[in-house]
Subunit: 361 residues, 2 copies
Amino acid sequence: MKTKYNFSAGPSVLPKPVLEKARDSLIDYEGSGMSVMEMSHRSAEFDGIFRRTESLFRKVLGIPDGYKVLLLQGGATMQFAMVPMNLLARGGKADYVLTGNFSNNAYKEALLFGKPISVAGSTKDENFRRIPAQGELTLDPDADYLHLCSNNTIFGTKWQYIPETGRVPIVADMSSCILSEPVDVSRYGIIYAGAQKNIAPAGLTLVIIREDLIGDPLPGTPTMLNYKVMAENDSMKNTPPCWPIYISMLVLEWIVETGGLEAMRERNRSKAGLLYDFLDASDFYQTNADAEDRSLMNVTFSTGDEEKDKAFVAEAKEAGMSNLKGHRSVGGMRASIYNAMPREGVSYLIDFMRDFAQRKG
Amino acid sequence: MKTKYNFSAGPSVLPKPVLEKARDSLIDYEGSGMSVMEMSHRSAEFDGIFRRTESLFRKVLGIPDGYKVLLLQGGATMQFAMVPMNLLARGGKADYVLTGNFSNNAYKEALLFGKPISVAGSTKDENFRRIPAQGELTLDPDADYLHLCSNNTIFGTKWQYIPETGRVPIVADMSSCILSEPVDVSRYGIIYAGAQKNIAPAGLTLVIIREDLIGDPLPGTPTMLNYKVMAENDSMKNTPPCWPIYISMLVLEWIVETGGLEAMRERNRSKAGLLYDFLDASDFYQTNADAEDRSLMNVTFSTGDEEKDKAFVAEAKEAGMSNLKGHRSVGGMRASIYNAMPREGVSYLIDFMRDFAQRKG
């Protein structure tokens, strides 16, 4: 069965106009006689793509002066190491809030570097159904940073507030919500995101870093993991991932053309709203995340019956909807409805869900 | 001026049939309804691509049992750190042969990890015109490994022999000669290569590692830089660079279809031979590398006059040949003629060179 709608948590669906442009330029980019994949990263042609991409990130996300934009490799998992390696060099310490698998992996990675790392809050006991409230956080005013994961892909939750941390900079993993709505970058020390959900195909990592946080890293930090080196070399200490950077430029252009992040948020709220309203009205399905902390990007739900969940995923696949199986730590189903998922995809899913509930309920 | 022939040292020209297939499958890969860029890396579709790619690497390079194939990120520069971080864990030491910028960068990176690192040989005093002979190497029989760079992109030299090192495994950076000719993998401990010359677009790194060299790395090694973790997770500890992996599969299929690496070597020798024969017969041009150590992939030459070199590069560009400027550490010109550079491209360059020499000689 040909996939009509791809609900993958990442890599995930890309906007159709972006794919069409990529196809049309694949062999000959704007009359250069070359594919973007063949361009020297030091050439004028690629330099133009790189500068336009950075400038579009700045424009679309409203990144203020005093922040660097880095385009790196290795995914968010590499940032789990780069953040402590670069920020703890003064014998510091850090706070981590645990709200799911990825924040937990970031915490475990930070422990590798032999510095005091504290859990500032966790909802593990509630299987990460929700985000801790400000009052539940134990914050160290002397921490070098507070780390959090803004949107939890697996559990379907999202931070709805930015915690107050005084002078402690917030480092946020925004892999699965970046570009889904406006963000006040000035409230963060570092924002990072793997590209493969809302930015571009896999192989690119966006890092937005406040310049005063760029300094000398811990001894033994590889050159490629040194923010200072990457900032001084405009992310080109060696060859960057040119093709994903090019696709991110096309995605950013598409965002601008469709009204920017305010319009994106409206569409995402409306799309997710369709699904959550249906789920809330249903006796057959239950949601995983607490209503007040729900993600706009990853909607987790189940029938409460493992056999029925399995049938749901299989039958949905037959009906042309792929990747609806939930992560093993939650079970049930997960519909990832990133920016590029059309509203019709969500309606199509709901029609299927209604029919399935009638047949199995 | 539209580029007819792209002599970039990397990223560089890709085979036309590969680009055509990539274009034709870009929006809908084999009736799946998805672009490869949109596929979950855990999906059956991408798993098929990944397994076929690994199996083609094994077939084309004749990789024996007892070696793992890893498909990573970060380029050769990341391997400059990963090699010592993973191989020096037993308080070991290592030997490095310096034959150009990249081997020198690998050496400097190894020094970051606080272990004794020795220079086993160097031709720096001769501006890296040649490769040291076996008798010129000072090898430590207790070293954990000997590191060398098989082909020196910038200087246009290539190791024509594999040094005898006893039980010390050889770690070779083959970024700019991988897949250009057959290689006896069993003679190496690790072979690594950035993809952006002969394998795929930038953003993918091939690592072939003998299994007994996979072990516990130095303390403080990030998870993503741990060969053991990457080997145990089939290179998918997190999302791999799916699109460059897919293109590498198409490139490997193209190599098989055109006769494998024996046939590739014949074509490469013949192509490079055209250019070297012309250069050797010319009074106007001089070559940089010593005749016996010349690279088949990167041909470095000059007129011996900076102004004429500058005119050469500019006029060649006007004639549709891009990226012929030599690296600043050598000056002059460099023609990178990787696998995908057609023989006609080399003939076209030689015609231009002959004409230029007549006009300026």
